[in-house]
């Protein structure tokens, strides 16, 4: 009896907490459809005018384009350095591995303001402040740990005999990677890429310190908008971004299931 009571109480708390986590993301959806000029509740009426305004506004369009551009290139760079490193880290242990792991994880750990300020001072010296390559490089460094972590995790169940088999059949390492390893670890690489992209897409502090007005990203545009006043246009943008988050979440979950399947039955080479 007592046990039952606790169980019910537990479910109530759990339900409230999950509601607390989800509601803010859901409440902004109806708010973005307001027909009024202010975010007041209850809504004066429903309309799509704020979506029209956002989609027609050059400022928002440029910001979205900038975020996409920077995010894609930062992700590519993070993959190019992260995937090989993950392969080395998933292999046999070696001297100094702990130090390498600490270095790999450090961009995730150091408070973002410190990273942004330190990069700012360095990028001033090398002329990268206020340029696209500057922000792209910075975001690539921030996204790289996620690539290494997801790919290393995927490789932890990888059967290295497959690589030996490929080599014995005459495949060069690059060929063996492309034809044997990559297809198996592809879901891990893809979710690492999504993490890296989301990191760049959400990032604001580095963008604030390193970016010129030209490189105004979506988070920066929201930030400066919010500091003036919270217009329904921001609710509309936020709603679109929540939609994107749902998409990213479902994609990574799907990738996780795929990875599990691939590993349960490794393809017969």
């Amino acid at each position: 009896m007592e046990e039952r009571l606790w169980r019910i109480l537990g479910w109530i708390v759990c339900g409230l907490v999950l509601a607390f986590l989800l509601l803010p993301l859901l409440v902004i959806v109806p708010m973005s459809f307001t027909s009024g000029n202010l975010l007041v509740f209850p809504l004066p009426g429903l309309s799509l005018r704020w979506y029209e305004e956002v989609l027609a506004s050059p400022a928002w369009r440029d910001a979205a384009w900038n975020s996409l551009f920077i995010g894609v290139f930062a992700t590519i760079l993070a993959l190019l350095v992260g995937v090989p490193a993950a392969i080395a880290l998933a292999g046999p242990a070696f001297a100094g591995k702990r130090l390498v792991v600490a270095l790999v994880l450090s961009p995730m750990i150091v408070p973002i303001v410190i990273t942004a300020v330190a990069m700012f001072f360095f990028f001033v010296e090398v002329g990268l402040v206020g340029t696209y390559p500057g922000i792209i490089l910075a975001h690539a460094v921030l996204g790289m740990p996620f690539v290494v972590i997801t790919v290393t995790a995927t490789l932890s169940t990888f059967d290295w005999n497959l690589m030996r088999a490929a080599a014995s059949l005459g495949a060069l390492p690059l060929m063996a990677f492309r034809r044997v390893m990559l297809p198996i670890i592809a879901p891990g690489v893809a979710s690492g890429a999504l993490f890296a992209f989301a990191t760049s897409f959400d990032e604001i502090v580095v963008a604030l310190f390193l970016g010129a007005p030209d490189q105004r990203t979506l988070p920066r545009q929201i930030f400066s908008g919010v500091r003036e006043y919270v217009s329904p246009a921001i609710a509309a943008v936020a709603t679109l971004l929540v939609l994107l988050a749902v998409l990213l979440l479902l994609t990574t979950e799907w990738l996780r299931h795929r990875a599990r399947k691939l590993q349960a039955a490794p393809p017969q080479a």
């Binding site: 986590l21 490193a85 702990r98 792991v101 270095l103 410190i114 604001i204 919010v226 990574t252």
Partner: protein, 387 residues
Amino acid sequence: MAYRLLLLGPLLASVLVLFVGPIGLFIYRAVDNAIIPRSLQRTVAALQPWDGMGLPPDAAFAALAADLQEIEPTRAAFLGRRLNAALPGFRSLVVKTANKLTSSDPAPARDLLVGIDRKWSEPAWWEVLKLESGRLTPFYLLASVDLVRKVDGSIEPVAPEQAIYRSTLWRTVVISLQVTLLCILLGYPTAMVLAHASPRLSGMLMLAVLLPFWASLLVRTTAWLMILQGNGPVNGLLQWLQFIQAPLEMVFNRFGLLTTMVHVQLPFMILPLFAVMRSIPREHYRAALSLGARPWYAFWKVWLPQTLPGVAAGSLICFIMSTGYYITPTLIGGPGDQMLSSLIAWQLNEVGNWGMASALSLILLLATLALCALLGRVMRTRNLFGV
């Protein structure tokens, strides 16, 4: 070996060049003092024999006049800014003196300097010059904990009206602790229920925990700003239900900040707790019950101790991440809720005191690294990388 270096090389090179190196250079600014000995070479040498009592000897006046006469205007500005950090008013004193000194004036240096500004007849300005004459200085590090070094080498608390740093450090710790405790309080029962639900159900409910993860931090902060503001839905609902007459103040204060921060940090608490709880065999708890323990007692003695590693990991992650918050306090906190990161950015953007920004960053960085080392022990990251 060469093969492994080839794989790791690009990553190590980019992390070292783009991340570790810049942070090292930035942190060095916390102790870097080269500007003073380099621009005031003769003055520093002439002040060497002075014991710091009263005014320095004539030779020091002559040396300072010679140094400031030759200094370039930009360098004078930098020197002035550096000295101004130690003693407000120094910037204008240096720039003014450097501007007015001319090489043709035959008067004794002491009269010349005091003639330009009476301040040169006060020992305080000379004490700063003597104290800050080294290549490295503890000045910023001491200042970041509201301490100051006197001319005789003793270390004392700064004047109360200048003591602004310790309170922000303390506030950062308090806010981070509040967030961590609230996350434990809300996250523990949630993770417990989810860990005991059927895998199918918990997988579905876990999506609710993971979704905020993927939504941008800015979107979440903005969402809370909209929800909690004076004419937002929460106030609207409370007024409609007649619970309150006038709207409650829920943003630009601690309540709004904590609500938003807990919302952002909660998944980081629930996930490690869930992982640990899932791995605890249910038989332990049932065995305790079958041996006659009341549910509460079995929970306290059998279940709870086994979940503590998860609590420790989740709390450390929450606390570490909370100490670094910048954007959320800026947008949704009040003036009394600004944290260490805001102070660093303020020193940099508004005050232009890079040494101070760097010293404050060093504190934050050291605290973060120490707590991460602890976290590494609790979580055994080795499981992932096998080290």
